[in-house]
Symmetry: C2
Subunit: 330 residues, 2 copies
């Protein structure tokens, strides 16, 4: 493996999370879409922040969380995403680099602030996300470093990238470069409403551009417009080389190479905050895959990584995941 060779490069919306505890009343009073991600504009972001309780700021972004997880597992990882040259952007850049990730995308200098996601965690550990995309709206094809993508075993894309209008061009450019270099392309469907917003395009992507698909039960049912998980699973199998479908506490199903593995969720003493569960599942899975493990083992590492991140506040691992995997799988 040459110096430039890496395991996974992630492309996503570079976001700093602002986490706060909130009660059910707050969610109702402010008309929040419980358990999902809603895009908000600057005035709404300001109004919601004014109403929000004291917060904790921590780097987030779906694909960025995944990439930080891969680094925590010992994988070599890179990231492409757009922050602004402001203090929040500096925090994002520091955190992902200090997690051991290559991140060299130029910052926006247009004055648009770095993206923030206000996350309200309710007493049932569920999170409700409200994202102001800010500088993420400026991510475009020029931000894709062809060398980085060509040298990554897997290029991982978050479905949320379909929201900012320029980013889908970046997305398609990266997929093309990856495939030309004989690499794999992975996609996470991100959120059921995100699937609703871009269904036709997502179906085309999954059928024609994506080798490895990540989705939860709600997202994959929305994609194929079917009412139950088994129908969604069958539809997926026909189109993706590998798919990992997650079902919260019901575990996950992994398909590929003609195999279907049904996995239990890893045990968690107390679920504190489900933010990042899907992101870290993808991290564990892709780390397993790029380090040459079989699909069942990939699913187990994925479940362990997801279990770690829901056991505390915030969407990036607090425990070095290498140690966790070593303790459980040897």
């Amino acid at each position: 493996m040459s110096d430039r060779e890496i395991d996974v490069v992630g492309i996503g919306n570079a976001i700093v999370d602002v986490l706060s505890h909130a009660d059910e009343e707050f969610v109702v009073a402010h008309g929040l879409a419980r358990g999902t991600m809603t895009l908000i504009d600057a005035p709404r972001a300001e109004a919601l922040y004014a109403a929000m309780g004291p917060g904790v700021e921590v780097s987030g972004g779906s694909a960025a969380n995944t990439i930080a997880g891969i680094a925590s597992l010992g994988g070599k990882a890179g990231y492409i995403g757009k922050v602004s040259n402001d203090q929040i952007g500096g925090i994002f850049r520091h955190d992902i680099r200090s997690a051991g990730v290559r991140f060299d995308t130029a910052a926006s200098v247009s004055g648009v602030p770095t993206a923030r996601c206000m996350i309200f965690v309710t007493p049932d550990a569920q999170r409700t996300m409200n994202t102001f995309l800010g500088a993420c709206l400026e991510l475009g094809p020029d931000d894709i470093d062809p060398d980085l993508v060509a040298h990554a075993k897997v290029t991982y894309l978050e479905g949320y990238l379909w929201d900012p209008p320029l980013a889908k061009q970046a997305f398609l450019k990266a997929a093309r470069i990856a495939h030309q270099a004989g690499r794999k392309v992975a996609l996470s469907l991100s959120d059921p409403f995100c699937v609703e917003r871009h269904r036709a395009e997502f179906v085309d992507l999954v059928k024609n551009h994506v080798d490895i698909l990540f989705a939860n039960e709600h997202e994959v049912c929305a994609l194929w417009q079917v009412g139950d998980f088994d129908a969604a699973l069958q539809a997926t199998r026909g189109h993706c080389e590998i798919a990992a479908l997650t079902r919260s506490e019901k575990g996950s199903v992994v398909t590929g190479n003609g195999e279907v593995h049904v996995l239990d969720a890893a045990r968690v003493a107390k679920v504190v905050d489900t933010t990042g569960a899907g992101d870290l599942y993808a991290a564990g899975f892709l780390y397993g895959l790029t380090s040459g493990r079989g699909l069942y083992e990939c699913g187990r590492i994925a479940s362990l990584a997801a279990a770690e991140v829901i056991s505390h506040f915030g969407a990036r691992p607090e425990t070095p995941l290498t140690e966790l995997v070593l303790a459980e799988l040897g």
Copy 2:
């Protein structure tokens, strides 16, 4: 109690904390003064941040933590401190206001950034703090709102305020206004090295300006230049109307009105991060005092508040302290 009447106004360095886990090796390799607070300049802050692992940003500042604690206990509280008009300053202002605290000090517009404290939490839950004071250096007498101070039962000052040169004038102005209005003045000695830096002035303060003193064992021994706690306790009793001296897991001693109470520390299932222990002890004590409780009960509320904050990462309460006190003391 009129609308303008409040329980406690705190004056301190308005700081946003950047918390990170670090091992002992890191502390040694970077020459950090373990368990204490060190002042650092901008280049050192930059170098240390570059070396630091991924962080969590959360509003801090010693007196600000205390004031947020008082609000969490149900007290009416105000705060005076200097942030910049940058994103970090916006976070500080949002968090303290959303905790229910009055905070109207004008932001600095000089371009100097809001203060940050890098806190390294080692596996033994001890914290090592490195503070870049930034905009705090601009807090001066003009920032003291005489009306706010005159309407507060207690004006609470952190010893750290003696570090920025202009702030001590603000400090003395506030003490004068408080006493002229027949109110009490409280001081926390903050840190043993802070006491070393300003010992002569702190002795004068304690003897002539302060009614209620907070200090831990190391700080109060440094103040009176004595080697053991009992000697420090006796020296303190001669000069302060009320004193609360903390001794970590050994509990605390409260003196005043001719009484001496020895209190056990409140139980904690697992100490995660000692950041804010002293700040929240002061919060509990001052809340008790301003709500008319006896000294022993003040010490118990103080111990409960301190126990809550060391049971998680970060220096402000995660659980509403009103509920905690209600559950324990009724």
